[in-house]
């Protein structure tokens, strides 16, 4: 039970948040804090890389949705990188595929961002 969060700057005023591990009711506050800090600093274009996320639940989805709502208020956006079929399925069945840009690679997610 653990989550690793790594934030790095990418070309073009955009930031990538690498998440690795399990996002649940215990670990999602850490993710929320990391994303919230970026937005507080005025970063409104985010790629969140979920390639190394093995598990996500509704609290994790809530954090992503919350981040998306906040950046949208500033004309920003959030794209996700997701290759794990189990994680993708969660976005599918909740209908969140329609509100997030979900991509197979970080490159594609970054290109689609701006």
């Amino acid at each position: 039970m653990d989550i690793k969060v790594n934030v790095r700057e990418a070309p073009g005023d955009c930031y990538v948040v690498d998440l690795s591990g399990e996002i649940d009711v215990y670990t999602s506050p850490k993710v929320k804090d990391a994303i919230g800090e970026l937005i507080d600093r005025g970063v409104y274009f985010l790629v969140i890389n979920l390639e190394k996320v093995r598990y996500i639940d509704s609290t994790g989805l809530g954090v992503l949705i919350g981040g998306l709502k906040r950046v949208r208020e500033h004309g920003g956006s959030v794209n996700l990188v997701c290759t794990n079929p189990q994680i993708k399925k969660i976005f599918d069945i909740t209908g969140l595929v329609k509100i997030f840009g979900i991509f197979e690679s970080e490159d594609a997610a970054m290109k689609a961002l701006v």
Binding site: M1, E22, D24, V25, Y26, Y55, D57, S58, T59, L61, G62, P85, Q86, K89, I90, I93, T94
Partner: protein
């Protein structure tokens, strides 16, 4: 190793955890271990893990919940039955508040939506004594007798 469940054996696991976020992962693992005794696919086992976690999370995020969560997992030959209850709840005013907060908005939430989607049967019972969620997942193609 994913052996068929032998009917002569009891395949029942009971887990009591403190109703706090750091313990939910253990409930997931316990449910996954039992699900593995039914011949579920890896994807179905992931579904079970998520449903159990959502049920525990619903208890934890609800004000006035009990001190513990009791998770009971039972494997039958063609289905898995899971029960999630909170226990050790404070009586009186807190239980009242609890009762009122547990409204349709909560039930309609994302977590409960996931449980309903991932499991085949879901029923819940809310009383001042606590919440009691029961869910069943069947082996694909299997029918209940």
């Amino acid at each position: 190793m994913n052996p068929a469940v032998e009917h002569s054996h009891t395949e029942l696991v009971e887990l009591r955890i403190p109703s706090r976020p750091e313990w939910v992962a253990l409930a997931r693992l316990a449910a996954a271990t039992v699900a593995n005794r039914v011949r579920f696919s890896i994807e179905e086992i992931e579904d079970v893990k998520l449903a159990v976690a959502e049920a525990c999370t619903a208890v934890i995020q609800h004000d006035g919940h009990g001190e513990f969560i009791d998770v009971t997992c039972e494997a039958l030959s063609d289905l898995l039955r899971i029960r999630v209850r909170d226990s050790g709840r404070q009586g009186g005013a807190r239980a009242q508040a609890q009762n009122m907060n547990f409204d349709e908005a909560r039930i309609a939430g994302l977590g409960v939506f996931l449980i309903r989607t991932l499991m085949d049967e879901v029923s819940y019972d809310v009383s001042p004594q606590g919440t009691d969620l029961q869910m069943v997942k069947r082996l694909t193609g299997a029918t209940d007798h």
